[in-house]
Each structure stands twice: as C-alpha cells, then as structure tokens.
C-alpha cells in the first residue's frame, strides 16, 4: 500500500474537497482519499499499481490542479 500526499490548488470549501475525494475514489486501485480544504492537501491511499498521472487526472477532471506530490 502506498500513501500519496497531493497539494491541490483551487478549492473553496469542503464541497470542492468532497468532489475531489469522490473523483479520486473512483480511480481503480485507490483505497481511500481524504481531502482537506484547510490544508489544501489530499491524502490518497492506493495499491502499488496506481500511477500519479491517474490521480492527477482524477483531480483535474473535477476542475482542480495538483500543485505538488509528496
């Protein structure tokens, strides 16, 4: 299991955060995603096969941008 920390730009409130969470969770291989509007961070738990691009795409699909990956 991997834990990826994403810094996400452009969130206004937790409804944005929950949209991103929903979108991330739809990526196959993502086990859990928690996004916080206050820290502008998302913590994503994935299996070893999920690529960062897939995660980034899931975020941009709902209108936000991944600024940093840790």
């Amino acid at each position: 299991m991997k834990k990826v920390k994403l810094t996400i730009e452009g969130m206004h409130c937790s409804s944005c955060a929950s949209n991103i969470e929903k979108s991330l969770k739809k990526v196959s291989g993502v086990m859990d995603a928690r996004v916080s509007v206050m820290t502008n961070k998302g913590i994503v738990e994935t299996d070893d096969f999920v690529s960062l691009d897939e995660l980034k795409k899931a975020v941009s699909k709902v209108g936000y941008k991944v600024a940093k990956v840790e």
Binding site: G10, H12, C16, S18, S23, V37, M38, N40, K41, I43
Partner: protein
C-alpha cells in the same frame, strides 16, 4: 547530493492563492467600478450617463474581462462541473453571471432588459469574498504553518574534526552537530558532549526549559539556550519529531467529524437542488408575472445567493483553528471525531505509571533478613535482565560492579521475575507471584502493608522459596498531577486510576493525587477490558502512554496518549500530548469542548443563512447583487467566527 534551491523558497500555496485572488480583485473592481457608476446614475438620478444602446455596449466591453478573464477559473470549473455532474459552487456563479451577461447581448433584440452590469458586479463581489475568505482561512491555519516553517534550514556538523555548515538535507544519521547557545537544534539527536538548557516549548508546549546532558535526547527545531551541545543525529527528514507532528495535523484535517456528516450530505446535493430551484423560480416568475426580465433577475439571485461554502467551511475552519491552538500547547488532535465525543465523556481513567507519576521509580526502603549487600546482589543481577521501570530502579540502587550469572531467567508479566543464581532459586515479585509460587510472607505482612500504605510498590525477594527481604520502590507524582486532578474532579468528572500495583499501594497514591476510585492488580493486557466494563456507565476517556496502553487507548471513547518527552505515540490515541503532563489532559478537554462548540455555532449560522436567504431570493425580494454580497458575507462570517475561537482561554 545537491542543493535544491527551488524547494526551499517555495511560496506556500495559501499565500499564492491570496496573491492571485488579490490581483483579480483589483482588476475586477477597476473595470466594475465604472459599470456600477453607469448603472447607479441611471437608477438613482434617472438620466443615463451614456446614451442607451451605447451604455450597454460599454458595460458589455468592460464586463467581459471581469467575467471571462479574471473570472475564467471560476467559469471554467463551474461549466465543467455542470457537464460532468460534479456540481460545485462555481457552477452556480458561472451560470448566474453568464445568464446575466447574456441579457446584455439579447437586449438588442428587445426581448429582455439589460442585466449585464449585474454579471460583472456578481463576479467582482464573488472575487472579493474569496479574497477575504482566503486571508481568513490562512489565519485559521497560521499556527500549523508556523510549525512547518519551524524546521532548521542549515546545520553545522563535524567532518574530519572540522566544523562545516551544510544544508539540512545533507545531514545524515550519525553525523555530529555542533549547536551554540541561542541556536536552533537542526534535527533530532542524542547529546554526546556538553550541557545546556533547551527551550522545547515550540514543539511540546512545555514552557520550562529542559536540562540536557550527555545521553539525553534533543528534538529538532527546539532552541539551545546557554551551552554548546554536541549532538549525534538520530533522525532526519520524515522521521523526526517535528515531521511526525506535522503528519498528525495533516491527517487529522482529513478525518470527518460526525456532526459534519449532515452538512456534507446537504452540500453534496446542494448545488443541483439550487439549480432546480432557480429554474423553477424563473419559470414561475415568468409564467405568473409575464415579465421575462424580472424572472431572469430573480432566477439569477437564487443562483448566487445559495452558498454551500458556508456549510462546507463551518467544520474544517474551526477544526483547523482548534488544531493550531492545540499544537501550540503540545496537544495534537489526531482524530477530529474525538472533539465531538469529548463532550460526552463522564469518566476519565488514568494509567498510573508514567501518567500520574513520573514513571521513574526509585528504591526508597530495603528491609532485609540477610546481609543487605547480598540481597541487592541477587536482586540487581536478576532485575538487570528485565526492562520494567521498577527493575531499573532496583538495578540502579544495587549499583553492582559485577553481576551474578543468572540461569533460567523468566519474566512473569505484571508480577515479577525469577531465575537461578549460584544454584539458588530466586523469585522477586509481588504478593500474587509469591502466592502462585507458594512462598509464605506472613512474617513480613506488617512491613509490606506499611510500605504499601505509603504508596510504595513492594517487591518481595525470596531465595529457595523463603523470603529474605523486601525492596520498596516509589514513583514520585508529576508536578502538576494534583492540580489537573483537582480541576477534573471539580468539573464533575469521575476520575479513576488503573494500575498493576496492589490495592493498598494504589490507594495511597490515588489519595495523594486526589483520585477516589482505584482499579488495582490489573495486568497490562486487562486494561482494555476494564475500560470496556466502565463504558457501561458512560463515555470513557483513557489517559496513558501510547506503547503499553495502546489497546486501552483504542477501546476508550477518547484515547489520550501521553508523549514521553522526545517520542510521541503516533498510532494510538485520538488525542496525543507531546508534553508529559496531566494539565495537558485538562487543556485537551477544554480545547475539544471549545472547538466543538464553535463548530456547532458555525453550522447553525450556515444553515440559518441558507434557510432564510434562499426563500427571500425566490420571493424576488433581493436584487442579485445584494444576494451575491450576502453570500460572500456568509462564508466570511463562518471563517471569521472560527478564528474567534482563539480568544478562548485553554
């Protein structure tokens, strides 16, 4: 290994956001202000500043960049939201402004009146609102951000007996750091030379400086005060104390608080519901009043007044401010849920050793039937093999130069130790162990009771099934344990001490500290079960160290894990105390309650706002621009109110 200059001077995303909203704000108003003047003069004084068809063109030209350039991000994200069914706040604003702007274009056909000025004003106010909100949100997280900035940038290390300055990324485990008075300790390590006082308040909340001598652990980001310290690096990067704290705070922000669930459910259907309401409102107004322009105006007002943001920010902002206040005091909220549960807690259970007491027992009395040296020789040799704090105290007291060889050593958890020394069978332990081993201690009963009544843990030493002496060990109370217990008792909490000690010793300590109820003779693994039994009476908070008490911490409704100075228990505990003090427990209870109260307040206002504002907009009472201002104010109010939590004394 090279420098990475981009990495260090990166602007935090929060600041970048504020700057970007700020720029948009200035440009938007520069263009919107003339629009407002054109609209107002016409409205108030009844004469147009610019002739009619031209004024619309001017407004459309000025308004275009406000909406489609400076507001492009919102329009883009909003439209995308509409098409992908991931509706968001932006969808409402995008739709509202585009519809209003379009009226300007269609007004030339004569079917509608021009509303396009409203579009620019909505966008300008929305931008203003977001700007103020971003500042307020930044303030809400200021303490946490200070934590992030706390880490040292450079370190002076010894290489080939020479002091060289390197960037923190280049420091490795095993390096020797040289830290002068007044300097920041770059990363976690152990003192190998020198003596000093270190101010650890920034990470543990402990206000008094801590003595550091050879062999003591130091924490990165704390400040060396008055002596030179040579410190061997033990942890770098993600493994450090500070990194763990930051990790905890980040994780906590992602956890959900039960009370937020309703708000989350509402926000998730909020935008589609408002869209439908706006459409219904538009058609009803059009149908009943026959005035298309009016119907559009009211519809737009409904779109822009609705604010899921206030609802969505109510909990996270308050939690953030609360977390920050806690972090400053060495209280880390690990699970947001604990904040809500805390107010239901009626019973607070304390582990004894290391929680109420210092966890560093010392031998206070020795009662020996044989030569005292011989007793200590047996005891010291045997206990040396055990990790228990009491064992360590005995080893320290025995101060042996040479230890006897021990065969068949065995630890009986929660009871004592046994083994064979020079062919003699030695057993050291409590009453239970003696009973199990069928060793009679009747002759010592009076003496044992006396020690126990003084709150001393008494170890019985037996040689070949015969008692040869007693060793009494006492563990001093932490300085503020009594204060903390007094406050909790006064606050109406039922306080209970749980310990592996026997009843009498436990009672004596409980009495000293001010606890009335004692659960004694509990084996470490039974603690969780005892907590479970207590939960039948009410919600239980358990206070203990994160290592031995992990199951009990998990079982309790709220687990408060105590740090031990340089280590924090990351995995166990809903709340984690970086400092090892019971006042921290009192503070964390106060903090949880205050934060939760603030969350409730915020949610109430956010709900109330929407419940009042949306019907007003549907009723056509509010001009779209007024509606937008109200919307912006509602989320600003929520964030500002969260920031007011700081005024609360913890």
């Amino acid at each position: 290994m090279g420098h990475n200059p981009n990495h260090k001077h990166e602007q935090p995303i929060e600041d970048a956001e504020i700057t970007s909203w700020g720029k948009k704000l200035i440009w938007s108003w520069l263009l919107t202000f003339p629009i407002a003047i054109i609209m107002l003069t016409e409205r108030i004084f009844g004469f147009p500043l610019i002739e009619m068809p031209y004024s619309i063109i001017v407004i459309l030209v000025l308004g275009f960049p406000v909406i489609f350039i400076f507001g492009w991000n919102i329009i883009k994200s909003g439209i995308r939201g509409l098409f992908t069914f991931y509706f968001n706040m932006d969808s409402l604003i995008a739709l509202g402004t585009i519809v209003a702007y379009a009226t300007g274009i269609f007004s030339f056909t004569g079917i509608v009146q021009d509303y396009s000025g409203v579009a620019a004003m909505i966008m300008a106010f929305f931008t203003t609102g977001k700007y103020v909100e971003a500042i307020a949100r930044g303030r809400a997280s200021q303490e946490i951000r200070k934590l992030l900035e706390l880490g040292a940038k450079n370190s002076r290390i010894l290489r080939n007996n020479q002091e060289i300055e390197v960037s923190i990324e280049e420091v490795k485990v095993g390096d020797i750091m040289v830290i002068r008075p007044g300097e920041k300790i770059p990363t976690d390590g152990i003192v190998i030379r020198g003596e000093s006082n270190v101010d650890e308040s920034m990470v543990t909340g402990e206000s008094l400086p801590t003595d550091k001598v050879k062999g003591n652990n130091v924490i990165g980001a704390t400040i060396n005060q008055d002596g030179i310290l040579y410190v061997k690096v033990t942890k770098v990067g993600k493994d450090t104390f500070l990194a763990h704290i930051i990790e905890l705070v980040d994780e906590a922000q992602g956890t959900k608080i039960p009370i937020q669930r309703l708000a989350d459910k509402i926000t998730s259907i909020f935008v589609p519901v408002i869209l439908i309401l706006a459409i219904l409102t538009f058609f009803s107004w059009w149908y009943f009043s026959g005035d298309l322009s009016r119907a559009i105006g009211v519809g737009v007002a409904v779109l822009v007044i609705a604010c899921p943001c206030a609802l969505g920010l109510a909990t996270p902002t308050a939690l953030m401010v609360g977390s920050g206040m806690g972090a400053k005091r060495g209280i880390l909220i690990r699970k947001g849920e604990a904040i809500q549960t805390m107010k239901e807690v009626k019973i607070v259970v304390f582990d004894k050793t290391g929680t109420i007491t210092k966890g560093k027992p010392e031998v206070t009395d020795i009662y020996s039937k044989v030569n005292e040296e011989k007793l200590l020789e047996f005891a010291g040799s045997l206990e040396r093999l055990s990790e228990h704090p009491v064992a360590k105290a005995i080893v320290f007291k025995s101060n042996l130069k040479r230890y006897k060889r021990v065969l068949k050593f065995k630890v009986i958890r929660g009871m004592g130790v046994e083994g064979t020394i020079s062919g003699k069978e030695i057993v050291i332990g409590n009453r239970t162990l003696m009973k199990n081993e069928k060793i009679s201690f009747k002759l010592f009963e009076e003496r044992i009771s006396k020690f126990e009544n003084e709150g001393k843990t008494t170890m019985i030493v037996a040689e070949n099934k015969k008692v040869i002496g007693l060793i009494a060990v006492a563990d001093a109370l932490k300085d503020d344990s009594m204060d903390a217990l007094r406050i909790l008792n006064k606050g109406g909490y039922k306080t209970i001490m749980i310990t592996g000690d026997n009843e009498r010793t436990a009672r004596a300590i409980a009495k000293q500290v001010g606890i009335t109820e004692v659960i004694a003779n509990v084996l470490p693994e039974e603690k969780a079960k005892r907590v479970e039994e207590l939960q039948k009476e009410g919600m239980v908070a358990f206070v203990g160290d994160g290592i031995n008490d992990a199951p009990a911490l998990k079982q309790a409704n709220v687990g408060i894990a105590m740090g031990s100075g340089t280590d924090i228990a990351i995995e166990a505990g809903d709340l984690v105390l970086a400092k090892s003090s019971l006042i921290g427990v009192v503070q964390s209870i106060r903090l949880s309650k205050a934060t939760f109260k603030k969350i409730k307040q915020n949610l109430f206002w956010a709900f109330a706002y929407n419940v009042v504002a949306i019907p007003l907009a549907i009723g056509g009472v509010l001009h779209p621009v007024v509606a937008e201002i109200a919307m912006a104010l509602s989320s600003i109010t929520v964030v500002t109110n969260a920031n007011l939590l700081r005024r609360k004394k913890i």
